[in-house]
Symmetry: D4
Subunit: 236 residues, 8 copies
Amino acid sequence: MELQEYANLDYDRERRCGFPEVIFGEGKTAEQICEIASALLKRHDLVLATRVSDEKAAEVLAQIDDAIYMPIPRLLFVDRRENPIRTNNVNEALTTVTQSRTTGNIIVCCAGTSDLPVAQEAAMTACLMGSHVTLLTDIGVAGVHRTLAHEDELKSARVIVAVAGMEGALPSLIAGLVGVPVVAVPTSVGYGASFGGISALLSMMNSCAGGVSVVNIDNGFGAGQVAHRINSPSWL
Amino acid sequence: MELQEYANLDYDRERRCGFPEVIFGEGKTAEQICEIASALLKRHDLVLATRVSDEKAAEVLAQIDDAIYMPIPRLLFVDRRENPIRTNNVNEALTTVTQSRTTGNIIVCCAGTSDLPVAQEAAMTACLMGSHVTLLTDIGVAGVHRTLAHEDELKSARVIVAVAGMEGALPSLIAGLVGVPVVAVPTSVGYGASFGGISALLSMMNSCAGGVSVVNIDNGFGAGQVAHRINSPSWL
Amino acid sequence: MELQEYANLDYDRERRCGFPEVIFGEGKTAEQICEIASALLKRHDLVLATRVSDEKAAEVLAQIDDAIYMPIPRLLFVDRRENPIRTNNVNEALTTVTQSRTTGNIIVCCAGTSDLPVAQEAAMTACLMGSHVTLLTDIGVAGVHRTLAHEDELKSARVIVAVAGMEGALPSLIAGLVGVPVVAVPTSVGYGASFGGISALLSMMNSCAGGVSVVNIDNGFGAGQVAHRINSPSWL
Amino acid sequence: MELQEYANLDYDRERRCGFPEVIFGEGKTAEQICEIASALLKRHDLVLATRVSDEKAAEVLAQIDDAIYMPIPRLLFVDRRENPIRTNNVNEALTTVTQSRTTGNIIVCCAGTSDLPVAQEAAMTACLMGSHVTLLTDIGVAGVHRTLAHEDELKSARVIVAVAGMEGALPSLIAGLVGVPVVAVPTSVGYGASFGGISALLSMMNSCAGGVSVVNIDNGFGAGQVAHRINSPSWL
Amino acid sequence: MELQEYANLDYDRERRCGFPEVIFGEGKTAEQICEIASALLKRHDLVLATRVSDEKAAEVLAQIDDAIYMPIPRLLFVDRRENPIRTNNVNEALTTVTQSRTTGNIIVCCAGTSDLPVAQEAAMTACLMGSHVTLLTDIGVAGVHRTLAHEDELKSARVIVAVAGMEGALPSLIAGLVGVPVVAVPTSVGYGASFGGISALLSMMNSCAGGVSVVNIDNGFGAGQVAHRINSPSWL
Amino acid sequence: MELQEYANLDYDRERRCGFPEVIFGEGKTAEQICEIASALLKRHDLVLATRVSDEKAAEVLAQIDDAIYMPIPRLLFVDRRENPIRTNNVNEALTTVTQSRTTGNIIVCCAGTSDLPVAQEAAMTACLMGSHVTLLTDIGVAGVHRTLAHEDELKSARVIVAVAGMEGALPSLIAGLVGVPVVAVPTSVGYGASFGGISALLSMMNSCAGGVSVVNIDNGFGAGQVAHRINSPSWL
Amino acid sequence: MELQEYANLDYDRERRCGFPEVIFGEGKTAEQICEIASALLKRHDLVLATRVSDEKAAEVLAQIDDAIYMPIPRLLFVDRRENPIRTNNVNEALTTVTQSRTTGNIIVCCAGTSDLPVAQEAAMTACLMGSHVTLLTDIGVAGVHRTLAHEDELKSARVIVAVAGMEGALPSLIAGLVGVPVVAVPTSVGYGASFGGISALLSMMNSCAGGVSVVNIDNGFGAGQVAHRINSPSWL
Amino acid sequence: MELQEYANLDYDRERRCGFPEVIFGEGKTAEQICEIASALLKRHDLVLATRVSDEKAAEVLAQIDDAIYMPIPRLLFVDRRENPIRTNNVNEALTTVTQSRTTGNIIVCCAGTSDLPVAQEAAMTACLMGSHVTLLTDIGVAGVHRTLAHEDELKSARVIVAVAGMEGALPSLIAGLVGVPVVAVPTSVGYGASFGGISALLSMMNSCAGGVSVVNIDNGFGAGQVAHRINSPSWL
């Protein structure tokens, strides 16, 4: 009965928002994810589950043949659209598969390995929704010359997702360089006084640069969704 | 010398961002505001100062003849563009003057009198930047039928700024109805466990509805700026 | 000796409160739970233990034949009243067994799967105490039309328990629709800036709608108890 | 136009909740309070404004002849019902005037002088709504024998509002004695580690006694409203 | 070399404080505890280690023959004094063994099973130091009549250690009854808004009753030490 | 009626605790203080009010002839005992007047001018209760040699009250030198990350030295009361 | 007597630290500042008081003829050395007077007007201690090209003091460019989620760039002192 | 590609900062650490990884022959310089190997076993960078005479790293004795109200002694790096 609800809900939302309901994988069993996904697939050709652990993903993959799991961003999806994404490699998905049908240009950027899971979650979310996404992973406030080497590329984007943990200064730095909206994502990377991402969250809320708005700690999915809505306006 | 810096900076930013540097009025004297504004006006035809108190505004108005001060949103500006805003009445500015040259459609909404200063700051910021803005002030989660009476209007916007204090639930409610980005602004309205806006801020960060991103507590200016960038993309 | 204390205490409380002492299962061993329950059963025909893990429950069930364990709300009880509840299925217990002797009408509502354990704990607590309880699980602020589909049903209740995590806006939404007391239960569902339920707790404390009072994070038991006391006044 | 909204809203709410919209006086000017009150009085025979300062009250009293102001609970109301409350003395209002038409019995209790403003706000709110209210002001955890001297009286109530600052232990103490709902109100009374009422708030959220639910810090109005709804059920 | 330091230090402290250095067991390996204990035992006839887990204790007991481990308070000690404590049963140690040589009278009290580990740590610490200690475990603010049943006994103590989690109201209740110092120990018992003992800690800091001072969360050892110093003044 | 309560209460408490009820002056008007004090003076020969501002004190002094006000510790008292304290100079009171009848020896110590109000409140409270008190004001962790110059004096005390703001390290330093109880009082002295005394409070809660217990921020009165109870045991 | 202590203390410290005791002006009266300063001037030729308000300064200047007060950094000093600083203009003091005898090179930098008081406090503290200090006020993370324009100058310093409020990213940016120690000073500039400087403080504690250490919020004096010690090593 | 970035980056930084990029081991797999280390070793003769667990270290040691792992400070390094450190014993490395080529003198001090991992991390970081480091582990505020026994040694250092958990008072104590910079490192040692190091962090931020600056909780690496920069100035 709950699944029926999900299916109906998605139908309404999809018409409105251009994307079906997404399954929040945390706190659900693999069985529950399979059930909800199956119900959604009766009406939709694309289903996405976020925050899915390796163990749960293995169970789901065993039951849904064409499900794809990307372990670093912990995303699991079933893509039954015309030109489906069939790779579980994030970079391949971003650079090759989606080129044919994406629109506009989102840049997702972060400093390096530690923030990569959240950055990839943001990038793949927007990519699955249909945006063209570029992922830059060697940008950070402590090595500002590397950031400036990308200045022109950053200025060419329609919207930028800036992902950072620890002191969370990246969005301010980026927003000082460009004139488009910057969606800031604090991550829980750090220790001690990073307080699980609070330090980065507060930094981003207090950005002295214009055009910055913030999503929840580690919420790559939310940032990808906001960025896609900005990048592909429904009114165009 | 510092003023020179301001003036040069703005010149660069304006080309990039479509708007000159803004003067953060809090913590500056009326004299400082006048000096910086005068320097900026040598290069720009629009200057905006935020968080300006009544007392400071009176001093500035005495020195700069064509400055306009709006006391509720505490905004002070000098508009020397072709079709300038010459009224200090927010509703008049939003509905009459700007119609001729604004583009797109932003809705700024809040529940009522208490959140009005922040909502007006957001609305006027976007309006001065050139966006067409509608201000809805009778919307709130505790009176959901009133909100739904505006459902079609909300769905017609390109971006929505949702302003709320206390439990801060308005952005979630709105985002559940529309498919465009929602910029959430927590306000410090409330007492006790509202902790000066923290309650609303956390609610908005944790919105279970898609497409919500958040700016700092009481930061109407920031929300208006983000909304304008979304509403009037530089790439169109 | 401590058990004797418990047994005596319950005797007094039952006359006063209509329900025996409840065993707080967290931090007690299965053995301790069995001992206390056995002591209480010498005087009472109904004993309830909350926050009992699967492992502990298995041990208790092995020792007390007619004990019932509901794993999702983690409740364990022994019901030796005249028309006892003999099912471990929450929905069955709520809809079938208790109909014959319950009084009044409590609605417990939440948004979905994640908040279900706490909602079921609240519902079963009130049900065991003798209230008629309806459980609604498809209600949330982000899908307000679904909530409004239940508006008449919600208005028919004597008291409503509203369970929500993340932004915790459900109690405000409900309280704006009805004229009866709303008992709000924040849950620890969420991540990042939900801070283990603080976000939802603060939202509920700051509800701008009337008639809302709040219990501790994840305290479904407490909410069920308050709701039952309101639903079945001792003075009627 | 906003006033019209208020007036319509109240009409709906009154039928549903038995009480007109209440004006939150904090952050509104005396002029705004007068305007909203006048609009409401066209449809209602009772209007209440909370958190009204002495200065604002004096201005309102100068404009609305039959307005009553109680300075300790900072309540201002206009009562044009058949047997109106015409005294600005809280004790007189509670003991004399309301006797003729109140129903049921609420006890509002606190430890002494410091918590009195919040306790009176709760008591008068419920009294104005039509409940019979008794106010006990010499009860506290540090003088438990005094509390126990009221044990029988406490047990006779239908609902109890327990107001306390500092360590906030009163609701637990009371709830251990009675079998009816206890609405707990933390106050900002205290200094240092009371953190403006957080200490009392947390104590009340963690009450080990049953039947306790909590409202916001210093929210006497909210507690009175919840208590009245429990005391005078709409379904009786 | 570090052990030598320990041994010398204790010699000085013992003369001054009447008790050797205590080993903080948390964060030390069983091997480290053995080494330090052995070094201390060359100079002292009593060594105490706190916060020792079951696993570490087993290793230490295998190496030091006459070591005693009490698992609930997680205390491990070697007592080579004239009338040594040779039981690992707390109640037995408190009631039988120590009677012959203890002085004065400390009461350690708590509400029940959950706070028992901390209460026993406090009681055994003071007992090992040479105080006569009575442990009351059926006292709590939610069952005030049980507490009052002990009123005379409580008044007979020289100092009281009051241990409580959740709302932490016990010390206030006790201090309102007696005229001796009350050492309050908050515990981490609870969930949700108890925040690991912060709720109880703040309550105790804000006690409106006189004579209360507070030690760290779960610091039974510290409370026992303070109580012993008060109970057995060095100046008598 | 409330005053009557106060008077009766004090009578009971005095027999038990050796000191009448104390008036918490904050949040009371001068008139209220006078009324309560007058009522208490009918039964007691000593009344103390804490946290009394200069303005309120002037009003009280105008009404109660023999009232004494000490402005730095903000204490106001009426001493009608046999050898009353008749000076409003703290040092004079501590060194001269009380010598004739005090017992034992309390040392109250702090670093300097800033913590002096709280230290004097502690010292005078214990002095009024009948303890012999020495006040040391040139002791601090940043000038450890000055502290050590007082080592013998510190070791001679029966109990020590250590008052400190900012990093709050003084109690640990003192407790490492002596074998008697140390009552720690955090003060709100400091700025920035001292957070109104939280920094000092946490330091004191986490003292690695034995025998330290803590009272509320700026609670000199509470510390003096605890210290007096330790210094002058009722059981001697 | 306390003054004597100060005087002696300073004598010792000066030999050790190269600078006399500094008077913390907050919470002291003008009279107290004069007394302590006069006592110190008997032994020292330089006395500094920090956090002195305009009002207090006026009183001190009236009593001590050669005292200098700088209102923006709120510093008051008496310089009776050979080549004394006799100007109350910070820039003049930094650029002209001190050139003759300072050593090494400290750069103090901040973004602009708002952080200037703290930056000037840091700069003047180090300058008075004898360091050569350069003050850069047009550097910030949101305008990174301006910062880079100073890259060579920054690299030439021996130590850098980076002052920032709001997101507090400046120290990370600077530390990524240079190889010398960076002393970070968070300021309370900002509003909402800046929480009086906590946001900036946490950012700086979590800097991902090497060589950053942090002082208290708004503690320009402390930063200047640390920087001077690094700049002018006592071992050279 | 990312590795290439690392290698290039380090080349630039080494010239500037005298030390190659350091690998933050937490959140990286052993495989990632090996890859990055190998890439760095193509250009550098010294590579350091921090926060490496035992398990990861074993894997890395199996792949890189000459890697050294120190388990207590969790440091892993490959030293291919002329006089390499070849021991995994911290004390041996500090006292023997590095003597030949280190310069200056850093003292790292802490109270004992619990803070040792962080202290060793600080000491070995500075040692690997080329500083002469002395490690004192028997110093603490609760045993001040032991600290003073090292007073002359402490005064001989060029910079001191003071490591402390719990109340975090050590840096204040040390800074009161010396005239050189003190780098304070709070550790997460403690329980209850130590809040994972917040207590120590706040203490250190509020130090009333001069010359103290603070790094992140448990950030021994950062403190070692700051200390080395102060000890071995690039401008000498």
